[in-house]
């Protein structure tokens, strides 16, 4: 039996309603999982995978003269 840490303590997963989702765009791939108990959200975890950071700086060395 899998247990889930919730706002009500550890609960058997079989007692909970599980919902999952994701977001996928240029910046991130994010997944989330929620567990609900009798209509109440009792657990929500999120995993954000950062994909690619933009170039922050264009560094230049100026010519002399």
């Amino acid at each position: 039996m899998a247990t889930v840490f919730t706002t009500k303590g550890d609960m058997d997963e079989s007692l909970l309603e599980k919902k999952e989702g994701f977001v996928d765009n240029d910046n991130e791939y994010t997944t989330w999982v929620e567990y609900w108990h009798e209509g109440e959200l009792v657990h929500r975890s999120v995993h954000v995978q950062l994909k690619k950071m933009p170039n922050f700086i264009g560094v230049e060395a100026a010519s002399i003269g």
Partner: protein
């Protein structure tokens, strides 16, 4: 207000004064703090502040320490261009937290050097309930690393 992904401008200046040391093992300690979607952290952020930072169960103000297992790498692509880059070597993980107010940004800052700001990274707005928030880093390459200084 809103948070904006950017390298902090003060950090760029501080690179020229050798303020920050990203060397593995002997370098400075960097930390990662989460900010509410209603906060304002951006290029103008100069130092870590609790203003706008998330609060909640099992979240410590100031956030968590960043794992620095690889020193910055500098690579020349041509005779006139190259990239220096660095990425934390582990995911940023906030365990068993409850963060009920939406947050969408993490501030990387140097806790060894008076909490001077390094960079702001944004993502889709989230909440966490008795759960874990994990922020997995991009690959540490010349084109995807978390921090990249590139000649143009």
């Amino acid at each position: 207000m809103a948070n904006t992904q950017s390298m902090c401008t003060s950090f760029m200046g501080e690179l020229m004064t050798a303020t920050h040391n990203f060397t593995t093992g002997t370098g400075d300690t960097f930390k990662a703090a989460l900010y509410l979607a209603s906060a304002t952290v951006n290029a103008g952020t100069t130092v870590y502040s609790t203003t706008g930072e998330v609060t909640g169960t099992n979240y410590t103000p100031g956030g968590i320490t960043v794992t620095n297992g690889t020193s910055p790498i500098a690579t020349n692509a041509t005779t006139t261009a190259g990239v220096a880059y660095w990425t934390p070597t582990s995911s940023l993980t906030y365990t068993n937290v409850t963060l009920s107010t939406a947050f969408d940004a993490v501030l990387i800052y140097n806790s060894t050097k008076s909490n001077k700001a390094v960079s702001v990274h944004t993502f889709g707005s989230q909440t966490v309930t008795a759960g874990t928030f994990t922020l997995t880093m991009p690959s540490n390459t010349t084109t995807t690393a978390l921090l990249r200084l590139a000649t143009t």
